[in-house]
Point group: C3
């Protein structure tokens, strides 16, 4: 369910927050789909599913790695608004990163201030 967002102010900031600890919000290159492929490949090697010594395994082998990934990538992004538009750079896009193996419903909280 997406609620209506009012027009953005002339100047301000948009804060986007994800209410989950196994997903993340990041800003990354938005032109070449290979960037997403490579990012996922890298992140899965950096935080593999089988880490010796891990105890939090009852929710599946992909759960604890997803918590670690969410800390490394962050749970929110803050983006400036100028002229009623997000002041993103030419190649910047906002990505919701799902770190669990199966898709889940995710909730975002958006705050605009001016």
């Amino acid at each position: 369910m997406l609620r209506h967002i009012d027009a953005l102010p002339e100047k301000g900031l948009l804060h986007i927050f994800i209410q989950h600890t196994s997903a993340g919000l990041v800003i990354n290159e938005n032109a070449d789909p290979d960037v997403l492929h490579d990012f996922e490949l890298y992140f899965n090697r950096l935080v593999p599913e089988q880490i010796p010594g891990m105890r939090h395994t009852m929710e599946g082998p992909d759960d604890m790695p997803s918590h670690i990934k969410s800390v490394l990538s962050g749970s929110s992004v803050t983006i400036p608004i100028t002229n009623q538009r997000l002041a993103l750079g030419t190649w910047q896009g906002i990505y919701l990163c799902e770190y669990r193996n199966l898709p889940r419903k995710r909730t975002l909280v958006l705050t605009v201030y001016s």
Copy 2:
């Protein structure tokens, strides 16, 4: 010393900032203590104390790794406020991560805006 915090506004954002470069602020799972164990285990392997080529060693072998960890995890978190409460997800908690081996006094700056 903890100074009094006024009641949170109806809507807004809370910004928490840590004034140190060898500690971090993160949002992570707040239910199972094993998550903190696993996170610390992972982070200590990702950024070990003995890294060949490191020069900044005069403050102890755990100092430079703590600077790196603070960059990877971040120095602040921003959390939305709705209905005078932090709009954290069910499983989200805020953690101050001490990356030095011995505990230290840490100072936070909290800013609320509505």
Copy 3:
């Protein structure tokens, strides 16, 4: 080109945003230049140029690693303002991290709110 910044407010927050996906903004130790050397050394080992399986290579071997580094370090910092000054800790400094091998022109968007 650096545009004029008005005096900071008595209290508030400063948000700094970088409009690029191959650079980052971080807070790190600002006293010993060796910290920057060690951070760069570590980051280059954590995200090397030759990663098996990477597809986004047409812009050079340092491009995809720079996207990954920007996600790990973040694209913005938010810093509290108290008494018309940034409330940074004694050892904290703000760094623009250039992750490409050759220098580039980078644009920042600064937002002050009080």
